[in-house]
């Protein structure tokens, strides 16, 4: 299995886990769901979009966007 296929399996598992968390868990739902979304976002951008081979500027920009987005959401929540 190549890295892209492994990424696909992990992304599907993370999607199922995030759907289950929102039904089963009573606390820390927001942070859990957001962390899983961030992991999926990184999986798609770095492995499907091949960002892992790009200049550090682009990798850093995506990570900074994710950091700003999730922290803002968590602060508001």
């Amino acid at each position: 299995m190549n890295k892209t296929t492994i990424t696909l399996v992990i992304l599907i598992l993370l999607t199922i886990i995030s759907a289950l968390i929102s039904i089963v868990a009573e606390s820390y739902v927001a942070i859990s769901v957001l962390v899983l979304a961030v992991l999926k976002f990184i999986g798609v951008s770095f492995y499907f979009m091949d960002l892992k081979h790009a200049h550090n500027f682009w990798k850093g920009s995506i990570l900074i966007f994710l950091l700003l987005f999730t922290t803002t959401i968590l602060i508001i929540m």
């Binding site: 696909l8 999607t15 995030s18 929102s22 957001l34 798609v44 979009m49 091949d50 081979h53 200049h55």
Partner: protein, 193 residues
Amino acid sequence: MEVTKINYKNIYYPPGGILMWIIIFLELFTFGIALIAMVYSSKESPEIFHDSRLHLNATIGAVNTVFLIVSGFCMAQSVSFLKQKKINKSKLFLKLTMLGGLLFLGLKGVEYYDKIEAGFGISYNSFFTYYWMLTLFHVIHVIVGLVILTSVYLGLSKSKSETKMEDVEASAAFWHMCDLIWLLLFPIIYLLF
């Protein structure tokens, strides 16, 4: 089929091209700010947002996420095969990519039909205003993505294809952007409140 060796480590040549990445960041910030506004609005009337969220079908949202993720995987495979000059395999995965997009749109259509039938239109409450605006704006991106992928497919199908690798990569980047946006929309709209 023209293939030029691109050094992706160069800051000006990210996979898909610098212009496409500028568009990707603009779109991510647009959707990101709208989602932040939605979460901020939910603080004013948390009960409405919670009750409204329960009217959404998270299973449909999760299945649609899987459709887009598998579609994104097929797109990545299509680009990979094209780089190896395996045109037929690349076209097969491109068709699978488009099938994933069509399945997404089909299921979204079913979901929209249910919501309209139940009376949850755009003006029902503030939650559904955000729901319709954000998801419809995303659906428009998916439709545009499908049109772009169709043109790439037709270009690759020509006997003397003039499609450039950069064009295919830019199209792939646009398609993955639809995936990235949905990965932000799904947890916040369907699961968070």
